[in-house]
Amino acid sequence: MILGVLKETDDRRVAVVPQVAKKLKDLGLELMIEAGAGTGAGYRDADYADLAKVVARDTLIQQADMLAVINQPDAALLDHVPAGKYLVSSFAPFMDDSVVEDLKRRSLHAFSMDMIPRTTLAQSMDVLSSMASIAGYKAVLKAADHLLKYFPMMITAAGSIKPAKVLVIGAGVAGLQAIATARRLGAVVEAFDTRSAVKEEVQSLGARFVEVEGATEDAAAGGYAVAQSEEYMRRQRELVQERARSANVIITTAQVRGRKAPVIIPADTVEHMQPGSVIVDLAASTGGNCALTQNDQVINHNGVTIIGDSDLAGDMPQDASFLYANNLLNLLKIMIKDGELALDLENEIISSACITK
Amino acid sequence: MDQLIQFYNQNDLLIWLLIFTIILGFEVISKVPSVLHTPLMSGANAISGIVIIGAIVLIRQAAPDDYVTLGIGTLGIVLGMTNVVGGFAVTNRMLEMFKKKK
């Protein structure tokens, strides 16, 4: 079976890196990679030389049995792919389930990495986690770069500088990593989340948990946050507004799977913030947690910088590709036997990932 | 009461000695890490085999044909000696893990 790795559009990442290519070959797979696919991530075509055939895009699409691409393939690409092929990517069917029908119509077999359950066992294939982790780290670096101030406290001969106050909203994987990174840089960190279970996790990273009482919990949602009541949202907005006034940096990661992201920071909160502050909105692609967020843009509102970017992982393509490739490898390990597909649809991971079954 | 006083007057040094010995016994065992509880117990147990001396004295003073005394005394020696030798030996084995490193 031939696995083909496509070059991404508008993304420097690549689905397979040389270190992992070796292990894929050990699974019995043959590899093909589009020329220049890894360049943006710091992997030269030469690095793949002994491991994969480096070919042109069209050849690859025609010859490979299975195509690996990180970003959801657009219609233009799908139109090129012959029926019967396998696709591994993230299709986000929970946002728009028409994608499944479309794929079925095209007779393509699709595995969606973002449908892999968030269980302990599936951790090693969980691209949401590995990418969110990078995003959280990067969010803090971006914020620190845009902030007009120091993060750490500094008592110097030219005056004493207070540590930056960082507010993290949503303490999922990205949020926790943001907390850890901000703390590393010396900021005073507070965090919010609707799931009270994460309180302990937030504290385990040395940050303060800001509690809004009365959050709706739903253990059945498998760890994902559930939508909250109006009253709760109001009280939360109030508390956030109060905290935001003193925060120098706000990093928002609050998402509810399959829905628009909740708006937690309305425009007038932003107006109350000190000039020079920074908001990094990782939920930008699903509407943003801040009312003023423009997806994929950096705007300045009354001196407050608002960075709307949900794809920060793409900004650190080398490690991001390495982690993604490992996730892919681990998924393929349970799908492939001796170089051929051997799907066990009883397996919870495979049955979740395979959206066109 | 008089008997008691008389006894004390006859044995005052012995009584002081006994009391000091008891205090010593208490003092010697203080702040023992709990890992040493068992070896210490075992070592103390071996020392309590000192009772064997009674059996030795008994036999040494028995008539050579007093087989009751000799027999029972010898049994006592066997038991006491097992206690003493076995006790110290097993303590030693327990303590092997404390051999100084390097």
Binding site: S133, L205 | I29, H37, N45, G54, A55, R60, T74, V78
Partner: protein
């Protein structure tokens, strides 16, 4: 004259050796030499008493020699062959022998007295009877303790309802008989003596019967101090100073030791002796269910295990983060390294609650990167590791992932800590981790649970290691 003087001095030296020996036995560094010193003292005492000029000595050295050889061989062989885990029962057995020896001595005295070979006074008789009574309890009590520890007797088999009252009755009867024998003498028949001995022996069984198996070490220590007292009493019978003082000394030391052992278990001595089974549960791991028993370990024991090992691997998990114990862990690491122990950290990829969680913590504590091993580096060295310390990790060291196909985490690579020679798991209870599944590691034969908040446990370990 001179000869006797030298022997007297030798006996004094023997007594001093006992004291110093026991003293040294109470600290790990000197324990071995302490034991040897006490043993040497015992040798000196025995030899001294073998050659001590006694009046009307017929000596009968052959009998003595025979007994000594047989006893030595038995003791030596038993001590060498016993498994490490069976040592406590062996000590109990030995202690019973000591008690039995005292019983025989007392028996002979009463035998002589009731057969007209001697006419002891009330005081002497009281001493003899005391020897017999306490010796008997020590003897049969130790035997039962041995049987219980060895698993030959199940607790419930030997206990009656309201066993305390039975024991009280025994106390009353034996004490009554003791006093009667001493006072009524010479109007005392040999049969009564036999009866007294039998009742005393039965009381010994009955005394130990209601005490739970887990409390046996305390009981053995108590019985050991009883044996010491009988030796002292025998010393009075034979007017022998070293027996008297040695016995009193061991009696006192044994008593304090017993109290210390109770304290270490957070119990009172009374509670142990009459408490019976109810309380013995407390020394078994909290939350142990069914057949599986998780053995717990005290910080002191864990510290020794760590201190005397060559290689230690810490396995941090989410609990380390919750307890914020990373710096304390580093401190313990430094202490161990300073004592020549090689220390590493095995980091499981999903330990904690976010990718790299453990890295963040350990970086905060300034653990050098080369000490961190990932899964692929850690597993191959597990079997050469003396102690693995699992600090608040659970799912990532769960053997079900490897040998229980039905488990929700079956197939996930985990840190195979159970391959190490010893495992210590630090957590607050036996409860589950994130994945919500039970962990058979806790009940593994080479595992010890160190219960408590990880930060506190770490600090206690450090304190104990410093004391070594």
């Amino acid at each position: 004259m001179e000869f006797q003087f030298f022997i007297d001095v030798a006996l004094l030296l023997a007594a001093i050796m006992f004291i110093i020996g026991l003293r040294r036995l109470s600290s790990p560094d000197t324990a071995r030499t302490g034991n040897l010193l006490a043993a040497f003292g015992m040798g000196v005492a025995i030899i001294a008493m073998l050659i001590y000029p006694l009046h009307s000595a017929t000596n009968n050295y052959l009998w003595i020699a025979g007994g000594m050889v047989v006893g030595s061989v038995i003791g030596q062989q038993a001590a060498m062959k016993v498994k490490l885990t069976a040592m406590p029962q062996l000590v109990s057995l030995f202690n019973g022998f000591g008690g039995a020896c005292a019983v025989l001595l007392g028996f002979i005295e009463l035998y002589k007295a009731t057969h007209g070979q001697s006419q002891p006074g009330v005081g002497e008789l009281l001493i003899v009877v005391f020897t017999l009574l306490v010796g008997s309890v020590s003897f049969t009590g130790s035997m039962l303790a041995f049987a219980k520890l060895d698993g030959r007797v199940k607790d419930r088999k030997v206990t009656f309802r309201n066993h305390q009252y039975l024991n009280m009755a025994f106390i009353a009867i034996t004490l009554g008989m003791s006093v009667y024998i001493a006072v009524a003498y010479p109007a005392v028949s040999f049969g009564l003596v036999i009866a007294f001995i039998i009742v005393s022996l039965i009381y010994g069984f009955s005394f130990v019967a209601p005490i739970g198996g887990a409390d046996m070490p305390v009981v053995i220590s108590l019985l050991n101090s009883f044996t010491g007292l009988t030796a002292a009493a025998a010393g009075l019978i034979y007017d022998n100073q070293i027996m008297l003082l040695g016995g009193v000394f061991v009696g006192a030391a044994g008593t304090i030791l017993t109290v210390l052992m109770c304290q270490a278990m957070n119990r009172s001595l009374l509670n142990v002796v009459i408490g019976g089974f109810g309380s013995s549960a407390s020394s078994i791991a909290p939350g142990a269910t069914g057949d599986k028993v998780a053995r717990s370990i005290t910080p002191a024991d864990a510290a020794i295990l760590l201190y005397y090992s060559k290689s230690v691997v810490f396995v941090p998990g989410y609990g380390l983060a919750v307890a914020q114990a990373q710096k304390d862990c580093k401190e313990l690491d430094e202490l161990l390294e300073a004592n020549g122990v090689s220390v590493k950290y095995a980091i499981h990829p999903v330990a904690g609650r976010m990718p790299g969680h453990m890295n963040v913590l350990l970086a905060e504590a300034d653990v050098p990167y080369p000490k961190l091993l990932d899964l692929d580096e850690a597993n191959p060295i597990m079997d050469q590791t003396d102690v693995v310390v699992v600090v608040g990790a659970n799912d990532v060291v769960n053997p079900s992932a490897i040998d229980e196909p039905g488990s929700p985490i079956y197939g996930m690579p985990v840190l195979e800590v159970w391959k190490a020679k010893n495992v210590i798991v630090m957590k607050r209870s036996l409860s589950v981790g994130y994945a919500g599944i039970d962990n058979p590691l806790f009940y593994h034969e080479r595992n010890h649970m160190l219960f408590g908040d990880a930060k506190q446990s770490m600090q206690e370990l450090a304190r104990e290691v410093k004391e070594l």
